[in-house]
Structures are given as structure tokens and as C-alpha cells.
């Protein structure tokens, strides 16, 4: 599985990037904000996943996560969590909506 994270295929941050592009920011500032957006995405994904797993499966998930074994991580989640993709998409959609709203509010300030 390609990508930086096991969930990379689910994440689309072009909208956030484009929205930030509409602000008068330096390259460093834009880069830092994108990094913060990614850390929020990461935490949201981990929170969503861990909330769906049993104590034993949490350990397996964390073990796969730190081993950087994206394929194994995703396979394990597909086996253990019903509709994991849909659940992650829903969490990510909500987060993206909030991040975009934050950007719009910052633009107006």
C-alpha cells in the first residue's frame, strides 16, 4: 500500500490547501498550517480507529502502526472493524469541515 500512512488513500486535503492559498501567508506559515492540519487528521484517524477496537486489537494496531506496515494495518482493520472505511471517511469529513470553517473565520478576522 503506497502513501505516508495506512489511511493516506482516504485523505484528500486539496480543499484545505486551496483555501489556505487564498490567504496572505508566507511559505513557512502555509507549510506549518498544513502540518498542523495533518497532525489533526492523524489524531482523528487514530482516535476513530482505537475507539472501534478491543484492548487486544488496539495492541495489534499500535504494533502494526509503529512497524510502518501499512498493508498489515489496513488488513487488520478491515477484519476487525465493520465499515472502517466509511467510519474514517465520516470522521475525516467532519474534521475537514471544521478546519475549512476555521480558515474562513480567520480570513474574516
Amino acid at each position: 500500500m503506497k502513501g505516508k500512512h495506512f489511511y493516506s488513500h482516504l485523505v484528500e486535503i486539496n480543499e484545505i490547501y486551496l483555501s489556505l492559498s487564498g490567504m496572505d501567508l508566507s511559505e513557512d506559515e502555509r507549510g506549518h498550517l498544513l502540518s498542523l492540519a495533518e497532525t489533526n487528521i492523524h489524531a482523528t484517524v487514530i482516535n476513530t480507529v482505537l475507539s472501534e477496537l478491543s484492548e487486544e486489537d488496539k495492541k495489534i494496531f499500535l504494533k502494526n502502526l509503529v512497524a510502518d506496515n501499512h498493508e498489515e494495518t489496513w488488513k487488520h482493520l478491515l477484519e476487525k472493524v465493520q465499515n472502517i472505511e466509511e467510519k474514517l471517511n465520516r470522521s475525516l469529513r467532519e474534521l475537514k469541515k471544521e478546519l475549512l470553517k476555521d480558515i474562513e473565520e480567520a480570513k474574516k478576522s
Partner: protein, 289 residues
């Protein structure tokens, strides 16, 4: 403040706080799993630390840097995450002097995680508290004639720390050395990484001020921001702040910057414990895990 900078700061703060809340929720809800991970990190195959760093370091997040350097760093799980979690479990919700049991728990955690022997009490002496609000201090003159224009060794430090200014008076122990010609690296570090603590409020100080003053002079302390796990070895080079300020200690601009602590309405607490270093082998400055 220019609109550009204001908007950036607004968003950065909001998103950092959002991440902190998520981080807290994750570690509180799934503490057993993370505890297991910490306990077993040495036995696990660790391919990349980015996944854990991303949970732990929102303010310093640089995804590309983390991804490319993850294979270069030692193959252990980022202990900072677990330190923050462990401290959260033993510290009270409000900032107040810790009980003896709390101090014992904290000193055990810090000694274990940093490999530096620390304690709330050393040679029978202790401060008024080991957990307090830290404020920002100015630079101290190191020798007669030292001023803000002579104070820095390089442009980067000048740019970053010049604006904090220099105190009109001297630190509690006077100048660090007699002249610029006798200034050593140790003197430079002692000023750079100094803290001011309320020596005058230490139990027993009034009965023997000379003995206590000698004990506190340049005494090394481990100062830790319990909210991000960052730690620095600092030395006591000044006395203060006054009790009415609501603060219990102060840090040099370099100490504050490293710990990611600020003064004013956003000020926050740190832990500060004596370091038992009779042979002076532990260097001043930031501590890595």
C-alpha cells in the same frame, strides 16, 4: 499586528489546541494500550516513528522532516508521549506545592525517563515548591560592561533573543565572571540556561541564609514542561520572582523558548527538581531522551 501574521497565529493556535484536545482524549481513553506500547517498545519492530511523533508534537509538526528523519533516530518509541501521560496521572489538576508522595512519584518518573538523578530535597534543603508557574526573565549581565550588544555569540541567537533585553541589575550572585577576557563556556551556559527561584521562601532559609545561599548558587535543576515533555538542565542564578506576581520561578529567554513556555495570560507550570551532580558531569541545556 499585521493582518497576515494575526490570521496565521489565530489558525495555528486554534489547530494546535484542537490537536491537544484530541491527544488528551486519545491517551485518556486508550491509556492501557499506550502503556503496553511503551513497555514493549524495545521488543517491537519499529519502522517509523512518525505515527507516534504526530500524536505527540503538534506545535513542532513538520511532516516531511519527520518522515525523512524517522529512520535516522534511535529505534525507540518517543518517550515524551508517555512522560506527558505519566505526569498527568500523578500531578494535581491545579498548580500547587506537591505533597511528599507526589514529589516522590514525580522524581521517580523524571529520574527513570531522563536517566538523571533528581529529587525535591538535596542535602536536607528544598525549595518552597517543585511545581509552579514560570515567568519570563531578561538576560543577565555576565561581566562588567556586558550589554545586549555584546551578549550573543552568533546572529541566530541575536535575532531570536535580543528583544528580551537585559536586566538593569545583576543576578543574585553578581557577575558570572570578572571580565570578558575571563568569560568561559561554563559562564556563558550558566547565564543562558538560568532560572530564578524563590530561594528566600525555602524552608529554613531565614535561620541560616548564608548556608542556603551557598547551596543554591548555580545549583542545577531539571526543569520540565509537563504538558509537552520538554526538559532542560538549568542552574539557579537569580532569586525571585516576588510572591505577589503569582509566579513561583522565572526562566531565561532561552529556557522559556526551549520549554515552549510564555509569560502573561498564557503562562503555565513547570516541574523543577534538584539534580544530584556532585562531580559536575551533567551539562546545562536541553535534555534528550
Amino acid at each position: 499586528m499585521p493582518a497576515k501574521s494575526f490570521q496565521y497565529k489565530l489558525l495555528a493556535e486554534k489547530w494546535t489546541n484542537r490537536h491537544r484536545s484530541l491527544q488528551t482524549e486519545i491517551f485518556e481513553k486508550h491509556q492501557d494500550a499506550f502503556k503496553w506500547l511503551a513497555d514493549n517498545s524495545k521488543q517491537l519492530a519499529v519502522g517509523s516513528l512518525a505515527s507516534i511523533f504526530l500524536l505527540a508534537s503538534p506545535a513542532a509538526a513538520k511532516i516531511s522532516v519527520l518522515s525523512t528523519t524517522s529512520t535516522q533516530v534511535s529505534q525507540t518509541i518517543d518517550r515524551k508521549v508517555f512522560l506527558v501521560y505519566d505526569l498527568r496521572n500523578v500531578l494535581p489538576s491545579d498548580v500547587r506545592p506537591l505533597t511528599s508522595d507526589e514529589e516522590k512519584n514525580v522524581s521517580e518518573i523524571l529520574t527513570r525517563d531522563f536517566g538523571i538523578p533528581v529529587s525535591a530535597e538535596l542535602d536536607g534543603k528544598k525549595l518552597n515548591t517543585t511545581y509552579g508557574i514560570i515567568g519570563l526573565e531578561q538576560h543577565l549581565p555576565r561581566f562588567p560592561g556586558d550589554n545586549i550588544f555584546t551578549h550573543f555569540n552568533n546572529n541566530a541567537d541575536t535575532q531570536q533573543y535580543w528583544a528580551y533585553g537585559m536586566t538593569q541589575g545583576l543576578g543574585a550572585w553578581g557577575y558570572f565572571t570578572d571580565s570578558s577576557g575571563t568569560l568561559t563556556q561554563k559562564d556563558i551556559d550558566r547565564e543562558k540556561y538560568y532560572i530564578a527561584v524563590q530561594t528566600f521562601l525555602a524552608p529554613g532559609f531565614d535561620s541560616n541564609p548564608k548556608e542556603y545561599t551557598d547551596f543554591f548558587k548555580y545549583r542545577k535543576m531539571l526543569v520540565v514542561n509537563p504538558q509537552n515533555g520538554k526538559a532542560i538542565v538549568a542552574d539557579i542564578a537569580d532569586a525571585g520572582p516576588s510572591p505577589w506576581t503569582g509566579k513561583q520561578l522565572g526562566g531565561s529567554p532561552e529556557v522559556m523558548s526551549y520549554l515552549e513556555r510564555v509569560d502573561g495570560s498564557q503562562r503555565g507550570p513547570v516541574l523543577y527538581f534538584f539534580i544530584d551532580d556532585p562531580n559536575d558531569t551533567i551539562p546545562l541545556g536541553p535534555v534528550s531522551y
